[in-house]
């Protein structure tokens, strides 16, 4: 297959614009060949470069005294939790692949986020996920929902990491554009943490894990484009996951991370070998000389372009001190993992590629990467017109229901409120015997063996509130996450986030993005929960519909005494039921209006962040002093639903409640 001649036209087909193509000519001082064009276009895609979002993400608070890694610097965030231990955690999206092939799309999403965490040297101890679909009344939505859940379960259960929590939301704005965000949390001793760097001229660059095939090529650029009819026939580019190989890679990587001769490790996610070689080199200013003939291949006749862009799953890249290659090989052989020495670290700062004895690529690493020479844009933003003609609501228009029981049943059976046990019973949430509180509560609680402490983890998002008022919605997303963590007795530590939005080149969408980040930032300041990194997923729209702007927050909190974990259900008759905070009877954007009247109206409820912080601190104090038996967050469905859940969730018996 002779390689196509590189022109501006071909560059545009790769998602690059004219200025970007001219920059490439300037950087290389010549026209790039087909492989080089592929490499640069995938590294400068939205998915890898964050070119339309990094400028704003930098405004989020990213420092904190217990942060051990600068946001974005490593594969995942790293937070000190005392006892010489640290927590590594991150959330990532696999929305577009899941829209095309839900089972494998979701499964490979779990595989990718697990690798981000264990390549830091951290043992994954819990996974969560945040899922959004169109209404289950539609057959296609049911197909996507059923297969995404099965994909997450089959992969996570096989690898042996418990799926301990999450959320599922249904709304017609997600028809055709499901959101599949997967989060993983891991624990690592400080002296076992591993960085994603290459260093030391002459050290060996080794690939290990599954062989490389043609799956997922353009996965990175594909994630940066709207789902059009044209992207339909790119389907063979779907990646297939092998959880059995992942489990062997997990154990081999953790063994490797304890060895002094390992310089760095990075997992292969979007853009596969291209991303690993360039990012690991750019972080230290070194280069790599790589022989593509040495890459274990699953298919014949793969050209350099395909090898460099392939997104085959379950592969890792590591740099091993020269002379210790055999030592590392012992670990790969113990776990029956194919491996191959691809080449050496150099001091040129360039990634140089060889194939069939010929040089087929020579590009400067720094110019490819986020934080290096990758483009950074400040998009234009404009207040959306829809915000001005949002239907307001007048309480009089919504008379009190004649039959409260009937209204109550409608609320409790609404898909966004009804029990999700059908979902989480397909997830193994008890493996590793650490689960103190599993799915279904306000937040998951996982104990840390060898200490008497535990982690409180929650994942929350609210597209409706951000749609109605992006800034207030951003604040509420963080506040809700912190409130859930506090309800189980956890002190919020830090967050990761997955920002699911539409097309950034649409000024109205970019306004939603900018305002939501501003809201999130102010809330993170108040709750002292810095952002440790995360993921941006744009282009969540298709020709006929666009998703609600949906930031999803993954928060980790610390519980000092695992015997003081709080649960949401009542435990004793004649206990008093008490509201902390104020009830304003605000129906703006509420599930009540949606469930009863199929209406979205009003503004997002106000939130006084200082007051919210004091409520949470008072709650943690009450839990610490053992003066309360249960605590539950009042969220979707309001007070009625919160009290009902507290009555029915006690595993031993049912309770009632007498409310005045």
């Amino acid at each position: 297959m002779s390689e196509p001649e590189v022109t501006l036209e071909l560059a545009k087909e790769h998602g690059l614009n004219t200025e970007e193509y001219e920059r490439i000519l300037e950087i290389l001082g010549r026209t790039p060949n087909y492989t080089e064009l592929g490499i640069i276009s995938v590294m400068w895609s939205e998915h890898c470069s964050y070119k339309n979002s990094i400028a704003l993400l930098k405004q989020l608070p990213r420092e904190g005294e217990n942060l051990l890694a600068e946001a974005g610097e490593e594969n995942a965030g790293l937070v000190d939790i005392g006892d010489g231990l640290a927590v590594a955690f991150k959330i990532e999206s696999h929305n577009h692949p899941s829209a095309i092939e839900p089972y494998q799309g979701a499964a490979t999403g779990v595989g990718g986020i697990l690798r981000d965490v264990f390549s830091m040297g951290a043992r994954p101890i819990a996974s969560l996920n945040s899922l959004r679909f169109g209404p289950p009344t539609d057959e296609r939505n049911r197909y996507l929902f059923k297969n995404v859940v099965k994909g997450i379960g089959d992969y996570g259960n096989s690898v042996g990491v418990p799926t301990v929590g999450g959320e599922v939301v249904f709304d017609e704005h997600y028809s055709g554009n499901p959101l599949v965000n997967a989060m993983t949390v891991g624990i690592v001793k400080h002296d076992n943490t591993m960085s994603a760097i290459a260093d030391g001229e002459g050290n060996s660059v080794i690939i290990f894990g599954s062989a490389t095939g043609r799956d997922g090529i353009h996965g990175a650029t594909f994630a940066s484009e709207e789902l059009t009819e044209e992207s339909e026939e790119r389907r063979p580019a779907v990646q297939v996951g092998d959880p059995f190989a992942e489990k062997s890679i997990l154990e081999a990587t953790l063994e490797l991370c304890r060895k002094p001769y390992v310089v760095g490790i990075q997992d292969m996610g979007a853009a596969g070998i291209t991303c690993c070689t360039s990012e690991m080199s750019a972080r230290t200013g070194v280069g790599m000389d790589v022989d593509l003939d040495k890459v274990p291949q699953r298919e014949e006749g793969m050209i350099p372009y395909e090898i460099m862009l392939s997104e085959s799953q379950e592969r890792m890249l590591t740099v091993i001190k020269s002379g210790f290659e055999d030592e590392a090989a012992k670990i790969f052989e113990k776990w029956d993992l194919p491996y191959s020495i691809l080449g050496k670290v150099t001091d040129t700062g360039n990634i140089t590629l060889h194939h069939n004895g010929e040089k087929v690529g020579d590009v400067p690493a720094w110019d490819l990467v986020l934080g290096g020479g990758a483009p950074v844009y400040h998009r234009e933003s404009e207040r959306p017109k829809y915000l001005d003609d949002l239907p307001q609501y007048d309480v009089e228009d919504y008379p009190e229901p004649e039959d409260y029981n009937d209204a109550f049943k409608t609320m409790m059976s609404h898909p966004n409120i009804a029990s999700k046990s059908w979902v989480y019973q397909q997830y193994d949430h008890t493996v590793r015997t650490n689960t103190v509180q599993g799915p279904g509560g306000d937040a998951a609680v996982v104990r840390i063996k060898g200490t008497d402490r535990a982690l409180a983890i929650s994942v929350d998002g609210n597209g409706k509130y951000v749609y109605l008022n992006p800034r207030k919605g951003g604040k509420l997303a963080v506040a809700e996450s912190a409130r859930n963590v506090a309800c189980v007795g956890g002190k919020p530590l830090a967050i990761t986030n997955c920002l699911n939005f539409g097309n950034p080149y649409d000024p109205e969408i970019y306004y939603q993005f900018k305002e939501a980040i501003a809201g999130m930032g102010s809330a993170c300041e108040i709750f002292n929960t810095p952002v440790t990194g995360g993921n941006v997923s744009f282009y969540n729209e298709s020709p006929d519909s666009a998703v609600y702007p949906t930031p999803v927050i993954g928060m980790v909190g610390l519980i000092d005494d695992v015997n003081k974990v709080m649960t949401p259900y009542f435990k004793r008759e004649n206990d008093f039921i008490m509201i902390m905070g104020t009830l304003k009877g605000d129906l703006g954007g509420s599930t009540y209006l949606q469930a009863q009247y199929d209406t979205l109206a009003g503004d997002t409820p106000d939130i006084d962040l200082d007051f919210e912080q004091r409520v949470q601190e008072a709650l943690l104090d009450a839990i610490e002093r053992d003066v309360i038996h249960s605590a539950h967050d009042v969220s979707d469905g309001g007070l009625a639903v919160a009290v009902a859940e507290s009555c029915i969730e006690n595993p031993d018996r049912l309770y009632g409640a007498d409310i005045h």
């Binding site: 779907v238 297939v240 092998d242 059995f244 799953q313």
Partner: protein
């Protein structure tokens, strides 16, 4: 009349089960296997139907549900019920 439908991953798509079976066979002393691929085998019984009608229904079943067009190919064979 019955339909014997076989469904396999498309060429080039990773088949983890096939890989595992191939390794297991090697360790069990079954030689000469260069490749193993694992897929589904579905038997549909059409008691009172002509071959052509049954074949039409089988084709419809394959396209609608038995195979996932994104990553799988299917084949089918119509067979007289001997028993």
């Amino acid at each position: 009349m019955k339909a014997l439908v076989t469904v396999h991953y498309k060429q080039g798509i990773l088949d983890p089960q096939g890989k595992a079976v191939q390794n297991a066979l090697k360790s069990l002393g079954v030689d000469g296997v260069s490749e193993a691929r694992v897929g589904r085998h579905i038997v549909l019984q059409f008691p009172e139907m002509s071959k052509s009608d049954a074949e039409a229904q089988t084709k419809k079943a394959c396209e609608k549900i038995l195979a996932n067009p994104v990553i799988e190919d299917y084949e089918y064979e119509m067979v007289e019920n001997t028993a």
